[in-house]
């Protein structure tokens, strides 16, 4: 749709949030119990953080929960009835960063591939994503390398930019338009000056990434043609402790397993997050395991995220440059470190 650009004065944001809260669950970055920033449902606009460090757990949990009920299995003696479980309740994801918006868009594209996963898509299509651009890059982010920030050209429903005393609100979808028209009196059409200020802010933000260089292309060439030595994978894997944290906090990781859990004499079947970094991920019933060695699992992870084969299929690399894997990795097997090692053909010592 033709982008429509509005502005909203900062004091009016609380009123807008009140309106949104009337019809939907609103999820936003808030201060957690021990001061860390987390995404959580809010009950009052005052809870919403505006100047915050991006939460360690990405917003993917609101489209792909860690334990996601998909089928109800009811038993009556020998007889069983199975029903799909849907979650299409209305949610608004508020003040989410550009990288997480791209992450959710990526997951949705994966689940839209035939056969489309209705369980995921019902939840995703019920979600309105209102993002906040990053006027200042975050310390570990490299979204400029993955085309996923600091400002976006699409994939959001509404994109907010801090212009000082007001926010610019770019509407990117019908869901976004609905969220604005819900409180139309608070918004006015943006002026040309406001739009050009946003562009200057974007340029300034991009420039503040400084000497950040992006090596995905050269890493992709090597990884796609099998030109990464086994010895290098081995060295990289020495810096992995197999915790799986990188997969759990990655906005684009969606590998899963399926488990049944008993509830009230019946069962709920859950889709649960899994990680290709765990030994048992590829363990077959016979005991054979094609990825028994850690270096094979590391190779698998980066082949999926960086290879040209997947790039051709998915249209992007499997990374949104949020930098969370840098933070969570107990070793140094994070995306920038591995991409740099593959490009150079050697691991940092």
């Amino acid at each position: 749709m033709q982008p429509i650009v509005y502005t909203i004065e900062k004091p009016d944001i609380a009123k807008w949030l009140e309106r949104l809260l009337e019809t939907a669950e609103v999820i936003a970055p808030v201060a957690g119990y021990s001061g860390e920033v987390v995404f959580s449902a809010i009950s009052s606009p005052a809870q919403v953080l505006w100047d915050f460090e991006n939460p360690l757990h990405p917003a993917k949990q609101f489209v792909l929960p860690q334990t996601d009920p998909i089928v109800a299995i009811k038993r009556n003696g020998q007889r069983h009835e199975v029903e799909p479980i849907y979650d299409d309740s209305r949610r608004v994801l508020f003040n989410v960063r550009s990288c997480d918006v791209k992450g959710i868009a990526f997951l949705t594209r994966m689940q839209e591939m035939e056969p489309a996963d209705g369980s995921y898509l019902r939840r995703a299509y019920s979600l309105t994503v209102i993002s906040l651009t990053c006027n200042t890059p975050c310390p570990l982010g490299f979204c400029v390398c993955t085309d996923s920030g600091p400002f976006l050209n699409g994939d959001y429903d509404i994109q907010l930019t801090d212009l000082g005393g007001k926010y610019l609100a770019e509407v990117g979808s019908e869901k976004g338009e609905a969220a604005v028209s819900n409180a139309a009196n608070l918004f006015r059409t943006a002026t040309e000056g406001e739009v050009s200020l946003r562009k200057r802010l974007e340029t300034a933000a991009r420039n503040r990434f400084g000497q950040e260089t992006c090596h995905f292309a050269s890493a992709m060439r090597r990884i796609s043609t099998g030109r990464v030595q086994d010895a290098l994978w081995e060295k990289i894997s020495d810096w992995c402790l197999e915790c799986g944290g990188c997969s759990l906090i990655c906005p684009t990781c969606y590998c899963f397993s399926v488990r049944d859990r008993a509830r009230d004499g019946n069962w709920i079947r859950y889709r649960i997050w899994d990680s290709c970094q765990y030994t048992a991920f590829t363990l077959e019933a016979s005991g054979h395991n094609p990825h028994e060695q850690r270096k094979d699992r590391i190779k698998r992870r980066f082949f999926h995220k960086v290879s040209a084969q997947y790039y051709m299929r998915d249209g992007t690399v499997g990374c949104v440059g949020c930098g969370r894997c840098i933070k969570v990795c107990l070793g140094t097997a994070d995306m920038p470190a591995v991409v740099a090692a593959i490009r150079k053909g050697k691991w940092h010592e």
Partner: protein, 270 residues
């Protein structure tokens, strides 16, 4: 939008023991009868309360009223499945995977080479061929297992051995008292039969080590990469290329496979 994870309920209508740790289950869909599949395709079978696991369809697509799966006890889910009997219910999703190209095999000579529990997917194809026998050339079945006890479908093996329109040989790695047949790994059976590599498609299914030796032997005997067809084994969960357990490079065994010829197998990058 599909309920891609919603299983159909199926009833177990027959169970037989194949070996001390392997049973064949015959399933009938409880609520709908329209279920078409190809040999080589597989099902995700739910044992309610335990989850799902993939099993190849062991019965012929020319008899779609019931589905058979031959299951070895190897873990919690298969333990629980082995406890079930007639009238008990399971869930099935599928059929998944590409399956064998039955149409492309018409008019050709067919060589089936199975090892141990690798016979079930071939059995689906073999019965398909035997029910439509006139459409195919010479049919040769070679089968091996570790011991005579480990042979599956023992009654059917006898029936195949008696048929005049099928050449059938069986061997075991280790004989047991009462065994008077061949002893040795599957490739010893190649000496018993006249192979025609130019007109034959070879279908090989079994444990990885058996596949390795059989395939090497076939290439030595003049088979081309495209004429040697196998099924790849990977841990599979969703069956629809989404959960990523069975990925080899950017291919998914559950969607792009599990049936590949050796030309395709050599192109898989990982």
């Amino acid at each position: 939008m599909n309920d891609v994870f919603l299983p159909h309920v199926a009833r177990i209508v027959e169970v037989w023991d194949d070996t001390p740790d392997t049973k064949t289950f015959t399933l009938s869909l409880r609520d709908s009868k329209d279920f078409r599949f190809l040999p080589g395709q597989f099902l995700e079978v739910s044992v309610f309360g335990y989850g799902e696991a993939p099993f190849c369809i062991a019965s012929s697509p020319t008899r779609p009223d019931t589905l058979q799966a031959t299951v070895r006890r190897t873990g919690q889910l298969t333990d629980a499945l082995h406890e079930l009997g007639n009238g008990d219910e399971v869930g099935i999703r599928g059929p998944f995977g590409n399956g064998f190209d039955v149409e492309g095999a018409r008019g050709k000579d067919l060589l089936f080479v199975g090892g141990g529990i690798g016979l079930p997917p071939l059995r689906s194809f073999i019965w398909n061929v035997l029910y439509e026998r006139d459409h195919f050339g010479k049919v040769t079945i070679l089968y091996g297992a570790r011991t005579p006890t480990d042979l599956v479908y023992k009654d059917e093996l006898k029936a195949w051995a008696k048929r005049s329109d099928v050449e059938f040989h069986v061997t075991v790695d280790r004989a047991e008292p009462g065994w008077t047949g061949n002893v040795g790994m599957v490739p010893v059976l190649f000496e018993k039969t006249a192979l025609r590599p130019d007109s034959t498609l070879a279908y090989v299914c079994g444990p990885p080590i058996m596949i390795k030796f059989v395939v090497q032997d076939l290439f030595v005997r003049g088979f081309k990469d495209e004429a040697v067809i196998s099924t790849l084994e990977r841990m599979m969960q969703c069956g629809i290329g989404k959960c990523n357990h069975c990925a080899i490079g950017h291919r998914y065994v559950c969607r792009d496979g599990p049936v590949f010829n050796y030309k395709q197998i050599r192109e898989l990058v990982e």
